[in-house]
């Protein structure tokens, strides 16, 4: 552009960059604080401060986290629920979306409306609880991922993606005698990998972050998800620790306090997300864009 920027515009650009830097610091600092605190020695950490680096250095809080029965069980539950929910949810959503994308299938409209209606109206928490009770799913891992693993929204997103696959691919396979099943599993699914990966990641993050399902549907606290265990540690520190048999004052405990332990637990809960986040971020953004295109 030939036209020179005015002074005001240049000032704006400088201020804008400064604002963004401040925003980034605001977004990152709390996590930095938690990481540094979790490595600190309690007696030094007690004095407070900004924790730009750890005060002293000890891994004892982490050692205690990984020796803690509740947290290990929580990790197990969270892994089962995340993998089960994301796996089943993605596969079934992909299967459901395919017939719904077929204009010539008799009954397609009825199916579509039945699915769409549930986006706007639902039974609510209490009937769902009673249903799971009736199905004898309370207190099982199923309760944590089966009801929530399929959402109409995801089905619509996948359906939109299928629309972009050229019909000629299916037609030529059909001429060669392939059935709808073969076409779906051999042609459609492999071509849909990008969108299915996105959906699987969306689901996985959702299940990994869920705590409420455990609190409502699971009475045996050994089957609680990691987030639910973390919640108990955060909200009810003393009582939770007694229940979990953690006594801060045992032999090597001088290097662990309630707060450093809480911080270490927060890190263990968050690290899986932090690790995958940079890689999957672009898929998430793409997925949201596809979803926002009206179907």
């Amino acid at each position: 552009m030939a036209i020179k920027e005015s002074k005001g515009e240049r000032i704006f650009h400088v201020i804008n960059v400064i604002l963004m830097v401040i925003l980034m610091i605001l977004m990152i600092y709390p996590f930095w604080y938690v990481i540094m605190y979790s490595f600190s020695k309690p007696e030094l950490a007690m004095s407070g401060g900004a924790f730009l680096k750890p005060k002293g250095f000890t891994l004892d809080a982490y050692k205690m986290v990984f020796r803690n029965r509740s947290i290990l069980y929580g990790l197990k539950t969270s892994l089962i629920v995340t993998i089960g929910g994301a796996g089943i949810g993605t596969l079934v959503s992909a299967m459901t979306a395919y017939p719904l994308s077929k204009k010539d299938m008799p009954g397609r409209k009825i199916f579509t409306y039945l699915f769409l209606f549930t986006m706007f109206f639902g039974g609510g928490l209490v009937p769902e609880y009673l249903l799971l009770k009736k199905l004898h799913m309370l207190d099982t891992y199923w309760a944590l991922f089966l009801p929530g693993c399929i959402s109409v929204w995801n089905i619509l997103v996948i359906k939109n993606f299928y629309k972009g696959i050229p019909d000629s691919l299916e037609e030529s396979a059909k001429i060669d005698g392939a059935s709808d099943l073969t076409v779906f599993f051999k042609i459609i699914l492999p071509l849909s990998k990008p969108i299915l990966a996105t959906i699987a990641l969306f689901l996985a993050v959702g299940f990994w972050n869920d705590f409420f399902g455990s609190i409502v549907y699971i009475f045996d606290k050994d089957k609680w998800s990691l987030q639910a265990v973390l919640r108990e540690i955060i909200t009810n520190t003393q009582e939770a620790m007694t229940r979990q048999g953690i006594t801060i004052r045992n032999e090597n405990s001088s290097n662990v306090s309630q707060k450093t332990l809480t911080m270490a637990t927060i890190m263990v809960t968050t690290v899986p997300i932090l690790i995958v986040y940079p890689f999957v971020q672009k898929y998430f953004v793409k997925g949201t864009m596809i979803g926002s295109v009206k179907g």
């Binding site: 920027e5 650009h13 605190y37 039974g123 609510g124 009801p147 709808d180």
Partner: protein, 320 residues
């Protein structure tokens, strides 16, 4: 398969003359029905069966008799619900918290998207976006832990700052009725502002660059371009999202509030969802809880329909 066939059979009766042809069609598409079957069963069991189960809102639910056998009581549960002094308070809190989040939280991503859009260094822009999206992926449980660590009156970081810079006394933000709602709004914006920009950024990317060039040649400065080109081009998206937000006004943020509230702030923080959980699950008042849930669902459905009508009427794209 048989279930689907029965369903299809019903249809066939309606269109007698072509029934043979339809039956042939169904055979032709049998694998498609097979593919939709698991999702359809899931839909019937976990969506429509729960919808059926919500009729206990009109019954005096008895665990031993079950949903079907429990006696009908008409609107008694709803009368009980509306007569509890708790209920108006809970509705008021839900609406106030939602509206506060709307007023302050809705413009926030728009402003951020506009600012991001003006960044010239693409690499810097990308890094900023990556960082601001992050909180969206962190669970509310973790956030609640961090919020507590920062706001704790004894050794919270924010209270340390207050002590050092103002010499003031530590303040219990989480336990104070006057600050709790502000805290909800601020932390909600913090978690959602980055992710909220995505749709706006997509809309901004679609604005014709020639418009900017032409405006620049005509002497429009950056701020004029923002006001007369950028904002009008993303107005449809803003309107659609605003309407969607209004439709969801009864969702005041259950997880966030559930994790942060306590007895001290209950009068200002108790919302309809937390009330349903405490009554319907914790106190096992199933029928009352279901009535509150149904009340919420019905109002939400009406709101969505109304707001969508409005959207179509004013010429913006609705949800359907």
């Amino acid at each position: 398969m048989s279930e689907v066939n029965v369903l299809m059979n019903k249809k066939i009766v309606k269109k007698k003359n072509t029934s043979k042809k339809i039956w042939a069609n169904i055979c032709k598409y049998k694998y498609l029905y097979l593919l939709i079957l698991p999702g359809f069963i899931h839909l019937l069991v976990f969506r429509y069966a729960t919808m059926y189960g919500s009729i206990i809102a009109f019954k005096d639910y008895n665990m031993f008799k079950g949903i079907f056998e429990s006696p009908w009581v008409g609107f008694k549960n709803f009368q009980d619900l509306f007569n509890t002094p708790k209920f108006p308070l809970v509705m008021k809190n839900t609406l106030i918290i939602s509206l506060l989040k709307m007023i302050f939280g809705f413009p926030a991503p728009i402003i951020l998207a506009l600012l991001l859009n003006e960044l010239k260094n693409l690499k810097f822009k990308k890094v900023t976006q990556t960082v601001v999206y992050l909180p969206h992926f962190i669970s509310w449980v973790v956030f609640a832990g961090i919020i507590r660590a920062f706001l704790n009156p004894v050794d919270g970081f924010i209270n340390e700052i207050i002590k050092v810079f103002t010499g003031g006394v530590p303040y219990d933000f989480l336990g104070s009725k006057s600050t709790f709602r502000s805290l909800l709004v601020v932390t909600d914006i913090y978690k959602g502002i980055g992710w909220g920009t995505i749709i706006y950024m997509a809309a901004l990317a679609g604005v014709d660059p020639e418009l900017y060039e032409a405006a620049t040649i005509d002497g429009a400065n950056l701020f004029q371009r923002m006001f007369y080109i950028t904002l009008p081009s993303i107005k449809p998206v803003i309107m659609t999202l605003f309407i969607l937000g209004l439709g969801g006004i009864l969702n005041a943020g259950f997880e966030q509030i559930f994790l942060l509230y306590n007895d001290m702030v209950l009068p200002v923080a108790d919302i309809i969802d937390t009330y349903i959980y405490r009554k319907g699950i914790k106190e096992a008042a199933y029928s009352l809880g279901a009535a509150a849930g149904m009340f919420k669902s019905v109002i939400a459905l009406i709101l969505v329909i109304i707001t969508n009508k409005i959207a179509n009427k004013i010429g913006e794209e609705g949800v359907w």
